[in-house]
Amino acid sequence: MKFVIKYLAIVLVIVLTIIPFGSALEIVQVTGSSTVMPIAARCAEVFNKQQNEIRVTVTGGGSGHGIEAVATGKADIGMASRDIKESEIERFGDKFVEHTIAKDAVAVVVSSDIYNAGVTDLTKEEIRKIFNGEINNWSEVGGPNKWIAVIVRKTGSGTRNTFMDAIFGTADAEANGKDVEVSENAEMLMKIVNKDNAIGYLSVGYLNENVKAIAIDGVLPTKENIYNGRYPISRSLYFYTFGKPSPKTQRFIDFVLSSEGQKIVEEEGYLPL
């Protein structure tokens, strides 16, 4: 009798595990840029609750990772915070379809001690010199007498590409003054908040009361300045698909582009289209 119960229990567990997979649930995998991730994750949460046929899962890893994953079929949608590169088209073929889902800007941020000491506006040239290690002390740009800790994102980050492109003129430049490299926006935020002498850059979606954006050549990354193009480091955020999106993928993209999806974009601190 005991054995019968035991085997029944095992069978029951196996059956219960298999049933959810057996049903007609379709999975849409989304991966890539950590800048786009908050939008996609929040949209997926709402979208998953609304219907029962499609499950959207969202993971991070960087724009480059997202583009590679979608091209190699590991994901249905690759999130990217930059345009696709020539080298990527060369490697995977020209089948990428671009879906612009939001607007974003890269804000230059400093630790609150530095901000409160009066460094609230830097010129593009000053920022370039700081990141290149030519300016090493905050006193050189009107701040307190403190060494500058330069925090950068890793190669492969779309935020890094956009920033380097706008400030250094080419996305593949190297910031020679860098002291620490981080791999996510959230990690950047943490380092800037925890230090009293740091400078870095963040997607505006990650700004909060603890980190404030400084103006570049007198222009702050406000909604207005980003829309009218006066703020120099702005960009579009993309969903990439490889070839025409499948119906399930298209449904999620449509949701993100709908007024409900665009409201989420705004709630997360980015700019709707």
Partner: protein, 301 residues
């Protein structure tokens, strides 16, 4: 009669089947080791052949947008972090092991030792997090470093992580020194400390060395904690002995770029190449530690 016969043959069959099953499982475990070695070497070799083995090892720059792959900065980083961590773990760990095994009553030691071993169970990401929240700001304010992320910060935290390895194995080694040698020394009039210094430690030295080498292996392979604490910048410090600068190790070098590397590109093969070098170093360390352990076993049978 027939019934018992079939029962016996069934039993024999069961015995054989279980034996075969165990054998197959152990063969699978062993072959996994070989598959890992083979895979790493096959995937890493293109990097050595394209860049040149010596250029790969002694190259001083690592910057993938220009396809420049030299792992000297990473080797130096791993070397510094390992040395700092080992020194810290030895300074804290060996005295702890001596106190635990020689000076404390066994009832107390049996409580203290598990507490030290808890350090081993804390996930490395937690060490990294604590280091980032507490140690980095402390280093910045007390040593007025530009950034707290540095070889020394990573080394301190890894030293604490490696502590239980050294304490546990050294403690076992010291305990396995036969009582009659110790008692002989005490009977001849040597003090407790003289006995520890002249008899116990020299007898247990191979076990202690094994514990140090195993700890080094653990530190070399550690990744997540280091990522938060070292800054992840592959460059040779200036001047080269400046351990208060941010840098990168072999493990963090692999982790921070693997997601970005396209499979089959030179970048990818170079990252696997770092893995090959790391595996070779760790394997050598493990062999040395095993050798030391075997020696201690032979000594006391």
């Amino acid at each position: 009669m027939d019934d018992t016969k079939s029962k016996i043959s069934f039993k024999m069959f069961k015995e054989k089947a279980i034996e075969k099953f165990l054998l197959i499982m152990s063969l699978i475990s062993i072959s996994i080791v070989f598959i890992i070695f083979l895979y790493l070497i096959l995937e890493g070799v293109p990097a050595f052949s394209t860049i040149g083995f010596f250029n790969f090892i002694f190259g001083t720059e690592w910057f993938f947008p220009t396809d420049t792959y030299g792992i000297m900065p990473l080797l130096i980083g791993s070397f510094y972090v390992t040395i700092i961590a080992t020194v810290i773990a030895v300074i804290l760990g060996i005295p702890s092991a001596i106190v635990l095994s020689e000076m404390m009553p066994p009832s107390i030691a049996s409580i203290i030792k598990p507490i030290i071993e808890i350090l081993n169970d804390i996930p490395s990401i937690v060490y990294g997090f604590i280091g980032m929240i507490i140690l980095i700001p402390f280093m910045e304010s007390s040593l007025s470093m530009v950034v707290g992320e540095s070889y020394i910060t990573a080394g301190i935290v890894l030293g604490i992580m490696a502590l239980p390895t050294i304490v546990t194995i050294s403690d076992d080694a010291i305990r396995s020194v036969p009582k009659d040698i110790k008692e002989g020394s005490l009977a001849l009039g040597a003090s407790h400390w003289e006995t520890i210094k002249n008899i116990v430690i020299p007898s247990a030295i191979s076990g202690i060395i094994a514990s140090i080498i195993l700890a080094m292996g653990r530190v070399l392979g550690e990744t997540m904690a280091v990522m938060f604490l070292i800054g992840c910048i592959p460059r040779i410090p200036t001047p080269f002995y400046n351990i208060f600068q941010s840098g990168s190790t072999m493990t963090t070098g692999i982790v921070s770029e693997m997601g970005e590397a396209a499979r089959g590109s030179l970048h990818y093969h170079s990252l696997v190449g770092i893995g090959v070098i790391l595996l070779i170093i760790v394997t050598i360390l493990n062999f040395v530690a095993d050798y030391a352990r075997i020696r201690v076993q032979k000594k006391f049978g």
